[in-house]
């Protein structure tokens, strides 16, 4: 029996407009595989960072450390685009006033899987709240450990710094701060009141999204590793607490080795989660490591079976109502 079917009692069978307070928390280790840049300002600006305590068991007087932050909005933006490519391929993005459902414009179709799951605000006044909620993700290591400086030059057509016609030298020399490959970010993605198929779709988007951050077509390759899944009737702890607890599990208060193998971080996420869940005032079920791996295999199998995937996407779209 598939993992999602086995746990389907924790998920609503169909979409309902009224919140029911059923949560699925996806605990992630996001592993940077090439240089990456996450910032909220333009080129030349430093990376996003926050000064926070390294661990939760910080000793009195210990100074906070800077951690690099991947903003929550940068994360879902990428993942929903991944899903929308699929919907577009099967013609499941609907039209409205002759214009096809497009992100961030006044033409959400208000009825595709993407609109229904990740939300929209229509110009006319209606809106759908997102049921996929991300949090700012924090780097496991301190910013000093995982960032580097890179000088970049803008070359002319001749691949040199000189313009042959004018003899002028390129003035576009700049330094950019970047995140080093093998950096790890700890993250929780929270799904609220999603159906079994919506969970499959969200996981598919997570596993298939690979490019995040600035200049995303060339750099910013990230692998999303699912370290844990928790079904619950309330919100879990925050990303910051999880990151700090993972830090405590892995180290003895000093900064961690870099690079750190992601499997060590995964194990630490599971251990930290078990500890943090003890304080949770609510009901929850956490998948075992084996079940998480089975779940991943289940999603990979679904996404490699074109007809099964297409029929799932069509059924999901139809389930939202007569317009589909």
């Amino acid at each position: 029996m598939s993992i999602i079917d086995r746990y389907s009692a924790h998920l609503p069978a169909t979409y309902s407009n009224s919140p029911q307070g059923r949560f699925v928390s996806l605990l992630l280790v996001r592993k940077v595989e090439s240089e990456a840049i996450f910032r909220t300002e333009g080129s030349g600006e430093p990376l996003n960072r926050e000064f926070v305590f390294a661990g939760r068991q910080h000793r009195e007087g210990q100074p906070p450390i800077p951690r690099i932050v991947i903003s929550k909005r940068k994360q879902t933006a990428v993942e929903r685009r991944t899903g929308r490519e699929l919907l577009r391929r099967y013609n499941l993005l609907k039209g409205k006033n002759d214009r096809v459902c497009t992100l961030n414009t006044n033409t959400p179709c208000e009825w595709c899987v993407d609109c229904m799951l990740y939300g929209y605000a229509a110009g006319g006044g209606g809106s759908q709240r997102s049921r996929v909620i991300t949090d700012d993700a924090f780097s496991l290591h301190s910013a000093e450990t995982i960032t580097g400086q890179r000088q970049f030059n803008a070359l002319f057509d001749s691949s040199t710094m000189y313009d042959r016609d004018t003899g002028k030298r390129s003035t576009s020399i700049n330094t950019d701060e970047y995140i080093r490959p093998e950096s790890l970010f700890i993250d929780i993605e929270t799904l609220k009141d999603v159906t079994p198929d919506e969970l499959r779709y969200t996981l598919g988007n997570l596993f298939r999204s690979a490019r995040y951050g600035a200049i995303s077509s060339r750099i910013g390759k990230i692998e999303n590793i699912l370290a844990g899944v928790v079904f619950s009737d309330c919100e879990l702890f925050s990303n910051l607490e999880l990151t700090q607890t993972v830090f405590d599990v892995l180290g003895d208060g000093k900064d961690l080795d870099f690079p750190l193998h992601p499997s060590q971080a995964e194990r630490a996420v599971r251990e930290a989660t078990t500890g943090l869940l003890r304080d949770l005032p609510g009901r929850f079920v956490a998948l075992s490591e084996e079940e998480v791996n089975d779940l991943r295999r289940e999603i990979v199998a679904l996404y490699s079976d074109e007809s099964a995937l297409e029929s799932m996407l069509r059924q999901m779209t139809a389930s939202y109502g007569p317009r589909a």
Partner: protein, 250 residues
Amino acid sequence: MPHIYRCALELMEPTFFSSREVSAIYQTEPLIGNYALAYAFGFCQAPYRTAGSPRYREDLGGLNQRGLYVTPATIQGAPRFTVGEFNAQTDTYWYAMGNNLLVTRPDGAWAEGAMGAWYIIERPGEKGRKLGVENRPQHGRIRYLALGNVALCYVISEQDITIPRYIRLGKFMSKARVTAEPVAFELVHAENVTIGFLLNPADLPAELAMTFWDTINVPPTPLIKNLRCSGACYRIDRDRYLPARMAFGV
């Protein structure tokens, strides 16, 4: 007698409420309104899909009937902010940033900008269909309340209730950790006391005599601070007062 809970909200992420807009800068005032808190605590629930207008009267009115009230939250100490930039981006390969408009073009068509406006051209030679501007910002700067700010509010309830450990606040559903504890109090007639934290003036009982206060103009309703008043109050923590019989004035 009701139950009173003191709730400390610790922001675990930068948090944004659009409380003030100056050209392309969207600012969060250092406070959290109590309507937003009533939803965030899950005391009432907004549906996932809405037709646009808030349902304060239905939702908050229901809380009045249950004898449940939450005050606005006051930031403890000096508030700290984080500033960031945002840019709406579409999922098409080609797009342009117009004046308050994100331009995309349908397949087989062309988009052209002229005199600050954008046109979609379907057939060669035609002037094209003019695109209207959008009624929401496409780019700008955001001032968030920074991670780590702590805000304090009070929940007053006829029934004993469980307050969630974590809530989501603001436009981007930022996570906040809640530490709630019941407080001991007594109902007294207070004479000329000052209430240092934020209150919603629309929610105060008519019989409370108010001398002076500072007004903070924020949507959806203005709030007040440093209210000097006389009347029925709950005396909490020995020298803190909370007006009695507050209810959502919707």
